[in-house]
Each structure stands twice: as C-alpha cells, then as structure tokens.
C-alpha cells in the first residue's frame, strides 16, 4: 500500500490568515466554542428536568514569532524565507499606507489595542487552512468577528521573541457546518 501522501492536518501543513493576511510566523493557534447551559432542578427529582442552552461564546489565542519593522533593510544580508519587509507587528496585519484608510470592511486588528481608536475598531476574521498538494488551500475553520482581548509579549534568554494574542469572536464556521445568527425576527419585528 505504498503511495500515501501526508493526509492529516498538522502544524506543518497548516496556514493561518488573520484579517486576510497570512501569518507565516505563527507557531500555534487554538480556539474554543463554549455553549453555556443551565440544568433546571426541581423538588422530587434527582436528575435535571432538562439541559437548556443559554449562550454561545468563542475564545482563543495564537502566537507569533516577532521580528521588527524594516528588519530586512536594517540588518542586511539575506533575510529568512518569507519575512515581510515591514516587519510583522500587529499594525502591519492589513492594508498599509494610503490604502489603510480606504477600507471599511477590513478589520483593523491593531485598533483593538489602541485606546484612541478602540471605538472604531472593527471585528476581523481568522481563517485556518490545510495546505494540500498543488498549492491548494482547504478551509478548516473560519472564526468571524474576532477582537483582540489580550496581547502578551514574551522574550527570554535563548528564545525568540513571541507575542501571544487572545481573542474573542462571535462565530466559528467549520468545514462541516456554518454557524448562523440566532436572533432572527426578535428585534423591531
């Protein structure tokens, strides 16, 4: 039975896009979908009468190996494969320069960390893909309307600097189902 190709989704064949840009120096990502439930208990019964879903929340985190702005120009020599000219800080995760102000639909992830712009910050999308042979990407999950809730920078002797971002989001679509809006018809109808 020779002829097997790498089949499963692993860290080595995964691709992460945040705000529609590839995070090529991402080292890990995790997300959790939590559905809170209540279990009403009444006198005269041992078991709960039902399990009632109350809420749906999405949280997660991812870590990026950081390198500085303009590192390629300022350090010189040959840069590591795939490094971005302008560095990979959160401020670079989207349209740059003049194009920055033109986009209304693209979430500005860094506004989530700027008190002066927090009121204008827009939710963004996190996409998880499996890379397939022939440069094909297969979507595994799409985390929608995410916002950064915490950014931890970490550096130590003997390690590369990393930044871990925690996020909360509204929905997660997976390759097998789409999560949908639940409040249809409740407001102003």
């Amino acid at each position: 039975m020779a002829g097997m190709k790498p089949f499963f989704l692993t860290g080595a064949n995964a691709k992460i896009k945040v705000n529609n840009v590839t995070l090529a120096y991402c080292t890990n990502l995790s997300y959790s979908i939590t559905v809170n439930h209540a279990s009403p208990k009444v006198l005269g019964m041992f078991e709960p009468t039902s399990i009632e879903p109350l809420g749906y929340t999405v949280t997660g985190s991812f870590t990026v190996i950081r390198y500085i702005a303009d590192a390629k120009d300022r350090i010189g020599g040959v840069a590591p494969h795939g490094a971005n000219e302008a560095g990979n800080g959160i401020g670079k995760w989207g349209k740059q320069g003049l194009l920055q102000g033109l986009s209304t639909s693209e979430g500005k992830t860094y506004d989530n960390l700027n008190p002066a712009k927090m009121d204008k910050a827009i939710g963004f999308t996190i996409d998880i893909y499996q890379k397939l042979p022939g440069a094909v990407l297969q979507s595994v999950a799409k985390i929608r309307e995410a916002r950064i809730t915490k950014a931890d920078f970490n550096i130590g002797k003997g390690t590369a600097a990393t930044q871990t971002f925690q996020f909360t989001a509204l929905y997660v679509d997976e390759d097998s189902f789409l999560a949908d809006f639940s409040g249809q018809g409740q407001q102003w109808t």
Partner: protein, 178 residues
C-alpha cells in the same frame, strides 16, 4: 574488462567547499537530513494509521587538520593558515564563518553553504550535495603526543540539495501576504 577508472565517491576523490572556498585539509564530513514524523494512532487498531511528516532538519559534522601560516610553504596550504577565520563567504557579502564563534561579531554573522563534490577522472567536479545556510554550532580541537591538531565542527543548516541540479525548496508562505 581492464581500463576502469575510479568511479565511486571516496574520501580520496571528495572535495569540500565552504562559502565556495576549498577545504583542502578536511578529513571527514558527515551530514544528516532528519524528517520528524508523528504517528497518528487511533483506538481499535494496533498499527499507526499514518506517519505524518511535521518537521525537517539538517545538521552535520566536519573535521579539519589545522595549520598556521607557518605551514604556508607546504603544497596546497593557504597563506594565512586554515582557521575558521579564513573561511570567508565568497558567495555572499564576504562575512567569515569565524564570526559565528565571536560574541562581539555574532550579531552580524552570516550563514554559509557547504558543498561536497566528487572529483572526476577527467578535469572538473560533480556536486554530490549542497547544505544551504549552514551555521557552526560547535568547534572543538584535540592534540596529543604523536598527533596532529584536528578541529571538529558541528553545524546545522536549513536545506540540503541532493545534488546541485535538484534544489529542494522552502515550504513556507510569505508573511503578511494577502
């Protein structure tokens, strides 16, 4: 069937270049390309479902018989000796491998390529393998009574081409590209 010439790669027909400079006093070189796999194991079966590749590493070792500039009159020796400080990256911006062992210069030290050739019966060489973007990680020397000084180097690299005609490539993406 008389008339055969030496065909195989042996220590006697091998040639090593670091940063395009010949290491004429190299004694041995070894390299390893390691592909780490993880077993996908599931309940209800004894064998693994698949061994999935998750990482690729290249490393190796090299030994060089050392001499100083005192030996410069010898056939095939370099004028300034053959310390790691003389291993210049002539295919790059001129950095020397020795900078990787100097804390004061480590921040600007550059990678180098290490290539192994087979010397042909006719003139010329044929590439056997090229280890790209090497860095020395260890240097050691030993000398004793009745011995010569041999320095051992350990290195790691990013990629290894099996011969110069077949280049392996990077698997990663461009950071922050749409």
């Amino acid at each position: 069937m008389a008339g055969k010439t030496p065909s195989f790669i042996t220590g006697a027909t091998a040639k090593i270049k670091i940063g395009a400079l010949t290491m004429a006093y190299a004694q041995d070189v070894s390299y390893n390309t390691t592909v780490t796999t993880i077993p996908i194991e599931t309940m209800g079966r004894y064998e693994v479902v698949s061994n999935e590749p998750v990482a690729y590493f290249v490393d190796g070792t090299l030994s060089i018989i050392r001499y100083t500039k005192e030996a410069s009159a010898m056939n095939g020796t370099a004028a300034n000796g053959n310390s790691v400080e003389q291993m210049a990256n002539t295919t790059g911006s001129g950095g020397v491998a020795g900078a990787g062992f100097d804390p004061a210069r480590m921040i600007a030290s550059e990678t180098f390529d290490l290539e192994i050739f087979q010397k042909l019966a006719s003139t010329g060489t044929e590439s056997v393998g090229k280890l790209r973007d090497c860095r020395f990680t260890r240097k050691g020397g030993a000398i004793n009574k009745r011995g010569i000084l041999v320095e051992q180097f350990s290195f790691n690299a990013i990629l290894m081409d099996n011969d110069s005609a077949v280049q392996v490539g990077h698997s990663g993406d461009t950071d922050l590209a749409a």
